[in-house]
Amino acid sequence: MSCVFIGSDAVVSKLFQPDVRPVDWHEPASFQKALRFATRLVVAGLRGLSDRDFLTINQLPTVFVLTSGIDLTHLIMHIQDGRLCLTPWDRIVCLGDVDTHFYRAPWIEFFGGGLTLDPGLFHSLENKPWGSLPAPSGFDKISKPTLVKFAIKMRAANTFPFSPVVASGENAQCLIDCCFDVTDVVVSGAEKMPPDALIAAPEEIEASLSANPQATLLVCPAIVNGDMSMELIHRRVALAARRPVNLLNVNAIGTLPDQSVLAGLTYELG
């Protein structure tokens, strides 16, 4: 376990880590060496990121530290332009008065994950690295780069002429950015609007359809294999929806060692 911290000295001193010596990132050789063995990233300087950094960020589970509204604006910009993607492996931690900004980016709270940046964080990470946020069953075996590829395909398929209002089940809410561009999405619960689209893990299909009967689209991210086949998912959607359903799109990415496939199924309802 090795955790690399990208950010300015000011933020490092804010985290008052006496025993952490950040690698001098103006010296590329030592920075690259440190990255080679890293398994986790902490990004605090969202303003200072370069194109090379995104290659690393999209490989490793990352904590994004927001210190101000400006950091959030940069995060939104990177997601919007397709450079970044928030997966169940990522966390957003707010330092300072970022709470007021939850109104303009209500999805931040999906990526809290109970992680706080206290001085003990680095010590605790050495012993116990953070895992995946609650996700549909089997998703904790899928690495971040695979999820990023999944997101690229899903976002291209799920484009709306308007900002979709999205409701998601408990298990699928951290996949919101893997299914839609999260900066273009309205969160149904937080913003009190009737949902247009649902994200539901296979085990949540019935519950989310009965809770939101007016939705017209259902996205089901699932690990498809012999036990949970596409036919079974289709039967469950068709039975629970009580109206005509149409499978618009299937994105299948990456075969896992046990021959199961990561798939995103997009259903049109009614």
Binding site: G69, H101, Y103, F162, S163, V165, D196, L248
Partner: protein, 364 residues
């Protein structure tokens, strides 16, 4: 006994079948509502070519619901369809469906509904001369063959005065979309402010957005929603929008589906949309503002548009010149306090009388 039928020819989806609804779709719904007491059956009609055009593209636009009142007919079958129907009434909103007109006039009655001054819009949008000439020619054709002409408000009637001089029947029928009522037992709290960036390329609302950016920075207790796509650097309002999207009390949303938009309007105390009045704006009516009034929100708009003759008086505030922050702040405070409630009540009565107006379709 023959069945009296009325067909509303659509060039956009009504809310009955789609959740992407524009002004012509809302107008079609209004006309259908007004026609229902006078006919045995009222149906929407769309040409196959138009339908395909609207459904094209990689987007998830095909969220269409089938409904027996919404018919799509193939372009080559139009003649057969029209000949098979008993004498009916065909309502054309906007003159785009000229292909249907010539078979229709033989046996049926034609109602021409002028929703917006198309020619002026095209001129303001700097369309090419052929396009303008086509719009003008179609407009004239429809005027020649229409049994009844509907115009959107008094101001439009004045604008088309010369065209309408030879018409037998002209009915003023201002735009008034139907507003689905919220099904929640208690009405939601109206504590939001909604404002927009410019929708058409010929409208210009930079002064308004600049003032809003200045104001929202100071009024951090007011929650506002800015409905706007991201603008490019060459757009004049991009500076104001990039200031606004960084404020913690401003939420930017590109646009919303119809049900979500309606639910947002029901939580808004005030809706603001201002742009510089130009040759086209003088006669135009704003769908955004009309929808807002329908759902009970006070509005802030520009003085001197087609809306002046609506609702027996404006339910909100207007501004002739570019609004300054003081003016906007006064409106927001009044709207949140509910000062405009009597005006909104009057507007609601005006809207209801309009929807129940029997002269629009009576006697056809």
């Amino acid at each position: 006994m023959t069945v009296m039928k009325c067909f509303i020819v659509c060039n956009m989806f009504p809310a009955l079948v789609s959740n992407v609804v524009r002004a012509p779709g809302l107008r079609a719904e209004q006309l259908a509502f007004q026609a229902r007491p006078h006919f045995d059956q009222v149906q929407y009609l769309m040409l196959r070519s138009r339908y395909d055009l609207l459904c094209r593209g990689p987007q998830v636009t095909s969220n269409l619901t089938a409904h027996r009142d919404f018919l799509v007919i193939d372009d080559v079958r139009v003649k057969d369809f029209l000949n098979r129907q008993p004498p009916s009434v065909f309502v054309f909103s906007q003159p785009e469906m000229a292909g249907m007109l010539s078979p229709a006039i033989k046996r049926h009655s034609v109602v021409y509904d002028i929703l917006a001054p198309k020619e002026l819009e095209l001129r303001s949008g700097k369309a090419d001369a052929t396009q303008i000439a086509t719009a003008k020619r179609r407009h004239q054709t429809f005027l020649t063959f229409a049994d009844r002409v509907l115009v959107n408000g008094e101001k439009n009637r004045l604008l088309f005065e010369d065209d309408l001089a030879g018409q037998k029947e002209v009915v003023t029928n201002p735009f008034c979309p139907l507003i689905p009522h919220s099904d929640s037992p208690e009405p939601p709290k109206r504590d939001h402010i909604l404002f927009f960036s410019s929708a058409q390329k010929w409208t210009q609302n930079t002064p308004f957005l600049d003032a809003m950016a200045e104001l929202m920075a100071t009024k951090s207790d007011v929650k506002a929603v800015l409905m706007s796509p991201l603008k490019h650097h060459e757009d004049p309002e991009s500076l104001a929008i990039s200031q606004l999207i960084q404020m913690p009390n401003v939420r930017r949303i590109k646009s919303l589906s119809y049900p979500a938009h309606v639910s947002l309007l029901q939580r808004c105390a005030g809706v603001m949309d201002w742009s510089i009045v130009n040759g086209e704006r003088v006669n135009s009516t704003s769908t955004r503002l009309i929808q807002a009034v329908g759902s009970g929100a006070a509005i802030f708009g520009n003085a001197g548009t087609g809306l002046d003759a609506f609702w027996n008086g404006y339910p909100g505030a207007t501004s002739q010149d570019a609004p300054d922050t003081a003016k906007l702040e006064a409106f927001i405070d009044c709207a949140l306090k509910g000062t405009f409630a009597p005006d909104l009540k009057r507007a609601e009565i005006w809207n209801r009388e309009l929807l129940e107006n029997p002269t629009v379709f009576g006697g056809l």
